[in-house]
């Protein structure tokens, strides 16, 4: 116990680093992944405006980034990371690969959410003379909202877990703390404290996400 108290400043620092990683990666992923996911849906071979060739290229690119294990992506894009944030070590250096990985991850979830909606309301909107943009804004995003909130939750939880690998480039964070103190220094109490914090963090994210998603879902009677 004393040991954990002694480590409190490090734990505090690590939590802040984790927050920083998630606070940048997830919003950027949502901001860029949403249009990318919509693009994938709209231009699919059987979509609203099929563009089979460019769809195949973009979809392939998304698959490629997604198939990288995070640890390998972290290393593979170091030159790009250095170009963006000017360094290849530290928290900022982890945020770049986290974000790069999260964008296609979230885009696929968006695409899936919209695809699942079914074509009924879209067909009705086309019959009403709606433009593609109007359909996306007024119908697809409206009906997909609960699903999208769920996807943000899933992405956040996954990337809290990915952020544990940041130690490889000295990025810090709570997961890295667990590895450094728990695994390398045999400080089991510190590791347990870090794990408990991670569990609490993930639970909080999941709880909030589920609540917000449910509140925005009108597909089932209240």
């Amino acid at each position: 116990m004393n040991l954990v108290i002694e480590r409190l400043p490090e734990i505090n620092q690590a939590m802040l680093e984790t927050f920083a990683m998630i606070a940048v990666a997830i919003p950027v992923a949502v901001l860029l992944g949403t249009p990318l996911g919509i693009w994938l849906f709209v231009h699919a071979p059987d979509g609203l405006a099929p563009r089979p060739r460019s769809h195949a290229i973009v979809s392939g690119l998304v698959n490629m980034i997604r198939s990288f294990p995070f640890l390998i992506l972290l290393i593979a894009i170091i030159p790009f990371t250095r170009f963006v944030v000017g360094t290849s070590v530290g928290t900022a250096a982890v945020i770049v690969p986290l974000t790069i990985n999260a964008i296609p991850y979230f885009a696929r979830l968006v695409e899936q959410n919209i695809t699942q909606l079914g074509s009924g309301a879209v067909e009705a909107s086309r019959a009403m003379g709606a433009t593609r943009g109007q359909i996306i804004r007024n119908v697809l995003l409206v009906d997909a909202k609960p699903g999208l909130i769920g996807s943000i939750t899933i992405t956040t939880v996954s990337f809290i877990s990915y952020s544990a690998m940041s130690g490889l480039v000295g990025g810090g964070g709570i997961g890295d703390l667990a590895i450094r103190y728990g695994y390398y220094r045999y400080e089991t109490p510190t590791m347990i404290a870090a794990i408990v914090l991670m569990v609490l963090l993930v639970s909080l994210v999941q709880f909030t996400g589920t609540r917000v998603a449910r509140a925005s879902d009108r597909r089932i009677t209240a």
């Binding site: 009705a124 003379g129 433009t131 119908v139 909202k145 597909r219 009677t221």
Partner: protein
């Protein structure tokens, strides 16, 4: 009002035989009339209906609505023209995360009505036509099937269209609700002079609502007659479906002497005893029709 000239629609799928859903159909629907289109599933009647507002663009032929040749319009002009053509569907196709009023408002939004208050006023007006006045702020999940279809009718009417296309509008509804919804369609036709085209496999619906009947089979209109003919003594439709419209609905052979096969050709006018063929589709069809009585 609506004029289809040699309309064909062929679906070409890679690695498969092209499928001709609509095969050289010409049809005239007079202004203010109710045109019924009946046929079995797969006869091409839904595709033909979608040809009218070009949700499905025909691969050949021309489509004109209210004097405008839709098949020659560009996308923007076509969208403009669609504001004059309302449509309702079997599955209602409402936006589930929007309230009843917001759903109806949507068609006005798409039609370019900028002022939100104006949209809400006209949405309430349209909902009044279908007698939905107290449920405007609930969500579709809280409505019955019949209420959902009435909201869909209001949504289609809000832009004051000249034509209303109905794709199996009562197929998901029970017979009593069906009667209510059909009554609203009849009222709308009478009061506003809206031309109605209704596609269905339900004989009762055609009999109750249509002014003119077109029978579809394998993508073609095989028979056309005024619905009044159905009440005329001695009227003898050519096709089996036409004959079915005269029948009392379903009649089963329960003697057990019938061999287990269903090769009797319903297309053969001589074989088609009204209510007596054994095709499963006929059974379903006459069954739904029989329930209303």
């Amino acid at each position: 009002m609506i004029s289809l000239t040699h309309v064909s629609t062929t679906f070409a799928a890679r690695g498969r035989e092209p499928l001709t859903a609509v095969d050289d159909v010409s049809l005239e629907v007079p202004r203010g009339s109710i045109q019924g289109i009946i046929g079995f599933s797969g006869a091409g009647k839904s595709t033909l209906l979608r040809n009218i507002n070009l949700l499905e663009r025909p691969t050949a032929g021309t489509v004109s609505v209210a004097g405008t040749e839709l098949t020659s319009l560009d996308d923007a002009a076509l969208r403009q023209a669609r504001h004059q053509i309302g449509m309702i569907f079997q599955g209602f196709n409402l936006v589930n995360n929007l309230t009843v009023a917001q759903n109806v408002e949507l068609s006005l939004k798409f039609a370019g009505v900028k002022d939100r208050r104006e949209r809400l006023r006209r949405a309430a007006e349209a909902l009044e036509i279908v007698d939905i006045t107290d449920k405007t702020s609930v969500y579709p999940a809280q409505l019955s099937g019949g209420q959902k279809q009435r909201v869909a009718i209001a949504r289609a009417l809000a832009t004051k269209p000249e034509v209303l296309l109905c794709d199996e509008p009562t197929s998901a509804l029970d017979p009593f609700t069906t009667a209510t919804v059909l009554q609203y369609l009849a009222d709308v036709n009478r009061e506003f002079g809206i031309t109605v085209v209704i596609v269905t496999h339900e004989m009762e619906v055609i009999k109750a609502l249509a002014d003119n009947v077109a029978v579809m089979e394998d993508g073609r209109v095989v028979e056309e007659f005024p619905a009044s003919e159905l009440r005329r003594e001695g009227f003898n439709p050519r096709t089996s479906i036409g004959k079915y419209l005269l029948s009392d609905g379903i009649r089963l052979d329960r003697s057990g002497e019938r061999p287990h096969e269903s090769t009797s050709a319903p297309q053969d006018p001589d074989a088609a005893q009204p209510g007596g063929t054994h095709r499963s589709q006929h059974t379903a069809l006459a069954g739904s029709a029989g329930g209303v009585r």
